[in-house]
């Protein structure tokens, strides 16, 4: 079951690299959240109820419901479901993400450790680097944010990959989530309207000379 979830998680990453519409990105991130929710449930069934509930509620509410809903309402419905400007052709992104997958697999295999499971680690590393890749190649604030959320999902998966200090690390990841929600909801959506379009080319006033 976990394999199925992690593979679907991986496929969402591949899809993210070629997605072209804002709504697709949003849906994919929400889907990732849903998969993380199930993975967390299966993986952490045995920890104490309070912690489990906290983590599950956080994944379900923040990742699957609140963030996608707000992004949908404040960005997509308001400005229309615009196509995201792809700077690098989807074909290249796809190749890169596949390569990332392969490399993260190799890395996790070479660093083989009894404590972590290769499948988790591969998924997590692939998500982190795919997120970084999305941030590097895209030029829109929206896709940057999606890249950040992908990284963060990767971190969450990574914290699940480590069996030992589960409650503390996962709680920290939860904290990270809450912070990032603050980041997105607080600043981004309310304030960046000052810039007429959400293109990073507009964020170029700060420079030397």
């Amino acid at each position: 079951m976990i394999s199925l979830l992690i593979i679907s998680f991986g496929i969402t990453l591949i899809y993210l690299s070629i997605a072209e519409r804002m709504r697709t990105y949003n849906t994919l991130i929400a889907l990732q959240g849903l998969m993380l929710f199930f993975i967390t449930y299966i993986e952490l069934k045995n920890i104490d109820v309070v912690h489990l509930l906290l983590i599950l509620l956080e994944t379900l509410i923040v990742k699957v419901i609140v963030l996608p809903y707000f992004i949908h309402r404040l960005l997509i419905r308001k400005n229309g479901d615009k196509p995201v400007a792809l700077v690098v052709p989807g074909f290249v992104s796809l190749t890169v993400v596949t390569f990332i997958f392969f490399m993260s697999f190799l890395v996790s295999y070479l660093l083989h450790d009894d404590q972590i499971q290769v499948k988790y680690f591969t998924g997590a590393m692939a998500a982190i680097f795919t997120g970084l890749y999305l941030i590097i190649v895209h030029k829109q604030v929206f896709t940057h944010m999606m890249g950040y959320l992908t990284i963060e999902n990767g971190i969450f998966l990574l914290s699940l990959a480590i069996g030992n200090e589960m409650p503390l690390t996962v709680n920290l990841a939860v904290l990270l989530d809450v912070f990032s929600s603050v980041l997105i909801l607080g600043l981004f959506i309310n304030r960046l309207e000052m810039f007429s379009s959400l293109d990073v080319d507009q964020l170029k006033d700060l420079k030397d000379s």
Partner: protein, 470 residues
Amino acid sequence: MVTTYFIAAGIAILIILTFQRPLVSHGMVMVFIGFLAAMSINEAQSFENPDGYFFKADALGVIFLFVTLIISFFAAIHYIIYAQKRSQAPSVIAIHNASFVVFVTAISGTFLSTHIGMLWAFLEASTLSGAALIYHDRDKLSLEATWKYLFVSSIGVTLGFAGIMFLSIAAHNTPNYISELVSVAPEMNIGWIKTSFIFVLTGFSVKMGIVPLFTIDIDAKDSSPSPIGAMFSGPLMSMGFIAIYRFYQIYAHTSILAWMNSVLLITGVLSLFLAAVFILKTNNFKRILAYSSMEHAGLILIAFSTGVNGYLVAILHLTLHAFAKAGLFFQIGQVHRTYQSKIEEECGNYFKVSPVGSIALLAGLLAIVAMPPSGLFMTEFLLFKSLMISGEWWIVFVVMFLLCFFVYAIVRKFFTLIFINNPNAKVIEHVSPLESLPPLILVSIVLVFGVMSPDFLIRMITDAIQVLPK
């Protein structure tokens, strides 16, 4: 005591946000700084004794607590003037002061944390409060800087978190307390901790202002009020250094010590090189100071990478640089008020406008370009000495060559500001000479240090670096 301090900070924030009156909020910041002072003194006395579950003051923690205390005290004073002169709205002042308290609390908490997770939480808190501080002016530029800072910094801190995860993989079932991690360090898997160190260095470079994530740090120092620029250049940089240092301290007991040193060396030289390239291009005084901070951060890493000879030099350099740079930032804030500009083309003849301010600037320049009697001269001298001892001759030449660029850029641009008569420069406000007192005090600490260095400080640092392997 730390707990009391956090509670005091919380209460201060509550009062500031509830009343939203400038007088109350400035008063509360001062009270909070009083608590910080009390806590610092208390920690200095109960040195090396655990304080609560997560905190303990080691020598480095105490030194940087005092650095933070002094700089944040002056920053608070400068902010009072800043807010008054610009007749800021009370809500803006309240939000700034509340974030300032969170910011200082986060920084001082980092110095004292003995738990890696706690350390990380403070770094994250400093990101959020730092973003609020940068957004003070609420215009397009500061919004841009805030967004970039928040975004890149969050990514940095997230990567740092990944580094912590790798550490806990390597440490098996050990709780993430630094002392316990140090004791299990020799058994750690080399691959994991190398990955961990790379992630941590990349992630926390955002706080220290070094390669690779340095750009937003420069933007932040540029577009925030100058007292905040001082906070970013001094305490925040120390915080980033301490965050990296804690991991270094753990991994130093493994076989990757030499590898880590070369990583630090490469990072340092790269930072120095990039800062040299950018500092020549810019004509914005605050950005010049920001790039100069990056230069010094690079020097600190280089010093640190030379091993046992360099640890003392690095920490001393960090301490002194914090004072000198904070003083310069305060003074540049006054220049900014005088001309309503921080661009080279729109300022000039500052010596005529404000002789005292110019002396503060010149003294600051002397300190920052490491001319004798600046304390930074001493540390840079020792840096070169330790580089030579470890036989890294080519690094010595590269660093010396790059330093020439900094001296040239800083001196030329600041001399234009101070001595050259510029017809475009319009003096809009005359700043009272009294305001140059804090910069003068801060800079003279650095200058005096070059002449007679206090033994207790050296001894403290020497004690602190005993934990690192010879």
